[in-house]
């Protein structure tokens, strides 16, 4: 059947945030591929500029605008599509779709919802309708009800019995859900939640039940099947995004597996789902009772995982089914000859572990529960649970060598105490407990994790003990350890050897991994695709490497975390695509299931593997080809040193030069040689030395402990007393490590240069300017291209400095340099000889793919200089997930805390900014009231312009006493309010609870300085206010530069903001 559709609009999920990450780039990209194959014009709305789906050649038209009803409606009126895809952009797209539907926008414009009908979506999104629907199918969901007041809630909970589960409707990542064990706990939580939500759901608590998920597809004729089931290792009560998950299920009998499967088909048939759907079950571990937790009538994080776990292209198939294809018409794209209508048979086990980054946020507890806090995930494939989980632990690239490490031990007593709370370290605590001889049954009882999994971890511990005992390398022992997933470094630790000695022993005794293919059919048919993993639980490899001289491997980005996000996947995918175009056979290595790079058809060969030296060396031994390490962010970059030491060829900038750029001393020397300014700095070995350095270069200073990587633990200190207080907090962990103390230049403008060089000569160059001053991490800053406030003279200086550095470091490929500008001097603060976070942004703003150029350079092809001139403005803006991170202070500092980014274009700065900021979930002010609290005299002075602007825009200002008084003396009217709770008077808290505010500007006394000790002890009023605003979903600005930009943009009303597609912003001219 050829589709009668001519054009389809597809909604993306916008910026990455906790609960909606890269998985929707994967699903959207596959949907676009399906549309293209069917010859249907595609219009994509997604302000996430770093995604693959928004790249050239994927969609026919791309709009970098907010995925909200108003914007999408206007695009529909302009583009006149016949159909709309709502299920490929997560909950954000679905919510926008429901909004359009409810307002009649789709009907009015004759846009058909493709795939699952809206009735089904509404049924799955409304708990009451959903429960009724399930009852009609003789299926059960958790018992409970909706309550609208605290009183109702208390009565309802009494009937259900404690503990109870509380949920709010329409949620991403389980926001607002919690288990409450007593009346007291419930009362507090109800008051808090009912202040932001009109109703909550109270349910019987299924904590401790097994949590099982099924991914299901159905075509319009009613043929349906389950593609994959997954079992959460953590029981119900731990959000599935926070759980370790295995596929397929491990502890379900045949009867249970197929009973749940039958329920899934019953539900999907009754709802008339067309496309993909996810169902979550709770299964009682003793009685076998089943409750349906939820149905997601859209692609989800789990479906992305299922797709990678099985090799079944779920999103692509779902898109085809939504276009009216049937399962029986489609072919299995893996075997290329069998039907797409089959349930994949796995002959391996998949383990997913969430990646948290909670260290980046003070006051956020490591406990995990029914709300999602993780920012990414890894997926490991093995042929035993032990092998897979140890691989997964290493894939986190967070310092783990496996689930067990002799460096970290626990006493039995401590272990028993730690097991009580479920936290991000739980897997490792279990292993340590077993090492300390806590019994499997005891751990199972404390954690409610099935004994099956704990027994498996215990077997790992058993092997570890044997290694520790023997201390020698013996063939059988080492072979066995490898089958249990031990890495060379882990074996080395337990046997007190060096990693390279273990590797040598292995190679001498031919103990090497086997390469197995993921073929969806367990080898029943011959697979054609090259989707691989490595295992020691085998005796034959499925893959023989080609002798092709034109072959290249790309190391991907690893798990998403704060600072590593979809932009690096974009870079890796573009590299592979360009290398393919140049006739190369391409190999991709990555461990992150939320990516497009791990689609098996992105590269010629995909190794879904660990990004560790050991595995990269294994793959090199097999493939014998050079590697690209500079397009996947910091993880591959860091691998380059050990690769170079082992003579593994790397194309691009030489690793000795990568090292020169990363080594503070060497780089500083290089800058001096080139006569390029840098902030004064020095390294201190002792506390007194550190203080002396600070005194000599003058406060404020930026301090970073050298044992902390990636900016963790960096702090700006503005006085000796602050420094002393800080030293007090870190002295225990400091040990013999050095402290780097550098001059912090107050109020400097920060700039980012993205460049590409060929043999040290510049061929691409883009200078972007930050809206926020230095002191706020570049990943948390608003980035503007082209720069808007720098003088021509400074621009020339920056370009010339860039050229010198590129030449000195003989850069071959991408490079990012950060500059500070202050008093007409430009200082270099950092240089990374790899693709940066902002490469997709500048590439798309300039319609010039920097990675394509870099790849040609990697492959030894000549690339010459050119520069595009544009007349439009591009703005990249950070997306924060503070709402999910209970307790986190939303103040921005030198450490990065945003989880994603969005970008928009405009003819003016205002246009671009308004569109960008509305893309991050902030709504345009309608209430015309703002809260202002400005700390510090300088800041107060600086805020006057904005406050005047707000008044002239018709806003009512509410201000704290100090701020209000200051404004009054400058003739700006404001209403004085108290901060938190003060009897009878109007307070900030009241304004928040009564939803009276559009947004709040809360500037801390010292926006950059944080005394961690003071932080840990006390809670300031400012913090309480900021947190209150976040919890009540009120936009909050903690930097005057940002609020200034926002207020300025409010001069445009959103309904007159021009909406243009990406291709409507074109290049003016090109200079070669």
């Amino acid at each position: 059947m050829k589709s009668a559709l001519k054009s389809v609009i597809i909604l993306g999920s916008g910026a990455l945030k906790i609960g909606e990450a890269g998985e929707f780039d994967y699903s959207g990209s596959q949907a676009l591929k399906a549309l293209k194959e069917e010859g249907i014009r595609s219009i994509l709305v997604n302000p996430n500029i770093a995604t693959i789906q928004t790249s050239e050649g994927r969609a026919d038209r791309v709009y970098f605008v907010p995925v909200t009803r108003e914007f999408v409606r206007r695009i529909i009126e302009k583009e006149r599509p016949d159909g709309i895809f709502l299920s490929f952009g997560g909950q954000s797209a679905l919510n926008c779709g429901m909004d359009l539907y409810r307002h009649g926008d789709l009907e009015k414009n004759k846009v058909t919802i493709l795939g699952t009908p809206m009735e089904a979506i509404l049924a799955t999104e409304d708990r009451k309708i959903f429960q009724k629907h399930l009852a009609s199918l003789h299926l059960l969901s958790a018992k409970g009800g909706i309550v609208k007041t605290v009183h109702e809630g208390m009565i309802c909970a009494k009937a259900l019995g404690y503990p109870v589960m509380m949920r709010t409707g329409f949620a991403l990542g389980g926001a607002g859900s919690a288990i409450l064990r007593s009346e007291g706990e419930l009362k507090i939580r109800l008051e808090e939640t009912l202040s932001v939500s009109s109703q909550v759901i109270l349910e019987e608590c299924l904590y401790g039940w097994k949590e099982i998920e099924y991914e299901i597809v159905r075509d319009f004729k009613g043929t349906s099947m389950t593609v994959c089931n997954m079992e959460n290792v953590d029981p119900v009560g731990i959000h599935t995004g926070e759980s370790i998950v295995v596929a397929p299920s491990q502890t379900l009998s045949n009867d249970e597996y197929f009973r749940l499967r039958e329920y899934s088909l019953r539900v999907i048939e009754s709802l008339k789902i067309v496309g993909e759907c996810n169902i979550q079950y709770a299964l009682h571990p003793k009685s076998g009772d089943v409750r349906i937790i939820e149905v997601n009538a859209r692609l989800s994080r789990s479906s992305a995982l299922a797709s990678k776990a099985t090799g079944y292209p779920l999103a692509y198939v779902a898109a085809k089914l939504s276009l009216g294809k049937t399962l029986l018409e489609l072919k299995n794209t893996v075997t290329q000859k069998t039907s797409a209508f089959f349930e994949p048979s796995l002959d391996y086990i998949v383990v997913k572990i969430p990646r948290w980054d909670l260290d980046k946020y003070e006051k956020v507890l490591g406990e995990i529960g029914s709300e999602m806090k993780s920012v990414g995930e890894v997926m490991a494939i093995g042929r035993s649970f032990e092998e897979a989980i140890q691989k997964a632990a290493r894939m986190l690239n967070d310092g783990y060598e496996g689930v067990i490490d002799p460096r970290f031990t626990l006493s039995k007593k401590r272990a028993l105490a730690q097991l009580k709370t479920a936290d991000t370290m739980r897997l490792f605590t279990i292993a340590k407990s077993l090492m300390a001889r806590v019994s499997v049954d005891e751990i199972a009882a404390k954690t409610e994790i099935d004994r099956f999994f704990i027994h498996a971890i215990n077997r790992i511990v058993g092997v570890a003990k044997k290694l520790k005992q023997k201390k020698t390398l013996e063939v059988d022992l080492i072979r066995n350890a490898k089958r249990f997933g031990f890495s060379d470094s882990q074996i080395a630790r337990f046997t007190s050897k060096k990693e390279h000695a273990v590797r040598k022993f292995r190679l001498d005794h031919a103990i090497t991994p086997y390469v197995k293919r993921i073929d969806t059919v367990a080898n029943e048919f011959l697979g054609k695709t090259n989707y691989f993993y490595c295992t020691y639980n085998a005796s034959v490899s499925d893959h023989v490497a080609s002798n092709n001289k034109k072959k290249i491997a790309v190391i991907g980005c690893g798990p998403y975390a704060v600072g590593t996000s979809v932009e690096f996947d974009w870079c890796a995918v573009n590299t592979v695509e360009q290398a393919k175009k140049r006739g190369y056979e391409t190999i991709m290595i990555n461990s992150n299931p939320e990516t497009v790079s791990t689609d098996y058809d992105t590269s010629d060969y995909l190794y879904f593997e660990e990004l560790t030296f050991e595995r990269i060396a294994d793959i090199y031994d097999i493939e014998q080809c050079p590697f690209i390490v500079s397009v996947g962010g910091q993880i591959p970059n860091n691998l380059s040193f050990s690769m170079e030491n082992h003579d593994i060829p790397i194309v691009g900038t030489a690793s000795k030069n990568i090292f020169r750029a990363e080594s503070r001393k060497d780089f500083s020397k290089l800058l001096d040689e080139c006569d390029i300014a840098q902030p004064a700095w020095s390294e201190a070995k002792t506390v007194s030395q550190a203080l002396r350095i600070a005194q000599s270069i003058g406060y404020s200073v930026l301090v970073r402990p050298s044992f902390v990587l990636s900016g963790k633990g960096m702090i700006v200190l503005s006085s000796e007393s602050e420094f002393l207080a800080y030293l007090d907090t870190i002295k225990d962990s400091l040990g013999s490590q050095k402290l780097v103390v550098s001059k912090f230049i107050e109020g400097a403008i920060e700039c980012d240069v993205d460049a590409v060089a060929c043999h040290g000569k510049i061929v691409r160059y883009a200078l972007s300017e930050h809206v926020e001053p230095a002191g706020i991490h570049s990943g948390d800053s608003t980035l503007v291209y082209p720069s808007y406030s720098l003088s021509e003279e400074i621009k020339t200086k920056i370009l010339s400095a860039t050229k010198k550095i590129l030449s000195k470091l003989e850069v071959q490929g991408p490079c990012n340099i950060q500059f500070l500008v202050h008093d007409d001097i430009s200082y270099v603060i950092e240089c990374n000889l790899r693709a940066s976070r902002s490469v997709p942004f500048v590439s798309k703003v300039l319609h010039d793919n920097y990675i394509t150029a870099a790849t040609d350079i990697f492959l030894g092809m000549p690339v010459s200089f050119h520069e595009h001139k544009i007349s439009h403005v591009g703005i990249k803006i950070p997306q924060f997930s503070f709402l999910k991170l209970k307790g986190a202070d939303p103040v921005l500092r030198v450490e990065m805390r945003s989880t994603g980014e969005a970008a928009s274009f405009g003819q003016t700065l205002r246009e671009a900014y308004l569109s960008a900021i509305l893309s991050t979930g902030i709504t345009y002010p309608e209430k015309k009231s703002v809260f202002v609290s400005i700390g510090g005299f300088d800041a107060k002075i600086r805020s006057l312009k904005q406050c005047r602007a707000l008044v002239s825009l018709g806003f009512t200002l509410y201000a704290t006493s100090g701020t209000s008084l200051f404004l009054a003396t400058h003739g700006i009217p404001s209403e004085k309010v108290e901060k938190i709770f003060e009897g009878g008077k109007q307070t900030f808290a009241n304004l928040v609870l009564n939803k009276m505010l559009d947004f709040a500007i809360v500037i801390p006394e010292k926006s950059h300085a944080v005394d961690k000790k003071q932080y840990a002890m006390g809670i300031s009023d400012g913090y309480t206010m900021r947190r209150m605003a976040v919890d009540a979903k009120i936009p909050i600005f903690t930097s005057l530069s940002t609020s200034n930009m926002f207020i300025d943009a409010l001069h445009i009303a959103p309904d007159v903001l021009p909406i243009r597609a990406w291709d409507e912003y074109s290049i003016v001219n090109t200079v070669s």
Binding site: T223, N254, L265, S339, S345, S384, F452, V521, A522
Partner: protein, 356 residues
């Protein structure tokens, strides 16, 4: 204990013995299954009689073995027959630390008890590949590394797996239809499915004439092991059923026997269908069903007489999966509508006798 899998192509694979340590007496056929669950059901499926089963899913034994349970009429609830029928089991990882509320013993203990040996630590993905490429179809498991010359005995497995007497499972429902089931090695899943549809089921031996039973409303011919052409007597009886215009339904081997009875032909497939994800298309409606299958022989659809239509075909390889008389109540399917192990959405087919 170390153990060895001796393959008929001469290769020897080293692993670890679990279950019984049986001294091998013959070299038998190796088959593989791609089921990820259901080892208890598969191992007790009489269709696997005399075969060594290799599981492609690498973790086997996870949920142990449930207590043997029969319902009120004496049908097995959580297995397919009274005993293990496979003559050996090959797995990648054997899991001894099982965990399940219904389990009463480990898989290894059960196999010890039933005197069946198993071997773990084998690359079963590779075994599947070898069987698929037909570089090996026979072998044996031994604790000895030295190769032995073992005979490939031919056994009439249908007579060994069939019931040796007539057994009636009465329906509690009034006015229930009486169905005679010719037992060529029936899985109890089929009996459970028929009984749950409200039929009274009379199980008769494979070579028993169903019309020795009075008032027969319909006849089912069951699944069973090995070559359909070795069941001449059953084929004759099926011809009798057709002649007397009594509704007939065949499953798996029963499907092949019906085909032979009406003059069509069967052939040995290269490596059979054994798994729970075989896609079948109902040619009348165009709808697909995923089915559970275990067969090494297939019906050659080109040889079907013209009164018979192909009912189901396999969506992967186009092989025949079911036939149906154009006007009379005679039909059969190659797959197992009851699942166990596997999907059971096609179990509505057991309503056959109610609808004809």
């Amino acid at each position: 204990m170390k153990g060895y899998l001796h393959l008929s192509n001469g290769e020897i694979r080293e692993g670890t013995i679990f279950g019984a340590v049986e001294i091998p007496e013959k070299e038998v056929e190796l088959v593989f299954s791609t089921c990820m669950t259901g080892y208890v059901e598969s191992m007790t499926d009489p269709s696997f009689a005399g075969q060594i089963l290799s599981m492609t899913y690498p973790l086997i034994g996870n949920y142990g073995v449930p207590k043997e349970e029969k319902d009120d009429c004496g049908l097995y609830q959580n297995r397919e027959s009274s005993r293990i029928w496979v003559s050996g089991l090959i797995v990648s990882s054997y899991i001894d630390t099982y965990s399940h509320q219904d389990a009463v013993m480990s898989l290894s203990d059960w196999m010890k008890h039933e005197n069946v040996n198993g071997i773990s630590g084998i690359d079963t993905r590779d075994i599947a590949g070898l069987i698929r490429e037909q570089r090996v179809t026979h072998g044996y498991i031994s604790k000895n590394k030295e190769k032995q010359r073992l005979p490939r005995k031919s056994v009439h497995w249908v007579s060994k797996t069939s019931s040796d007497s007539v057994v009636e499972y009465s329906s509690l429902k009034p006015k229930s239809l009486k169905i005679v089931l010719i037992d060529c090695g029936v899985k109890h899943g089929i009996l459970r499915a028929l009984h749950s549809k409200g039929y009274t089921v009379v199980v008769v031996p494979w070579d028993f004439d169903p019309f020795n039973i009075s008032d027969v409303d319909g006849v089912v011919c069951s699944n069973g092991p090995s070559d359909p052409k070795e069941c001449g007597k059953t084929i004759d009886h099926i011809r009798g059923v057709i002649a007397r215009q009594v509704p007939f339904f065949g499953i798996c081997l029963g499907h092949q026997l019906l085909s032979l009875a009406i003059g069509a032909d069967t052939y040995k497939m290269p490596y059979g269908h054994r798994g729970i994800n075989q896609p079948c298309i109902d040619l009348r409606t165009g709808r697909g069903y995923l089915t559970s299958q275990n067969h090494g022989y297939a019906v050659d659809a080109r040889t079907l007489p013209k009164q018979y239509d192909q009912w189901f075909v396999n969506a992967n390889d186009g092989t025949n999966e079911g036939i149906r008389h154009t006007s009379k109540p005679i039909a059969s399917v190659q797959f197992h509508p009851e699942g166990s192990p596997g999907p059971f959405e096609s179990s509505t087919l057991f309503d056959f006798f109610h609808t004809v």
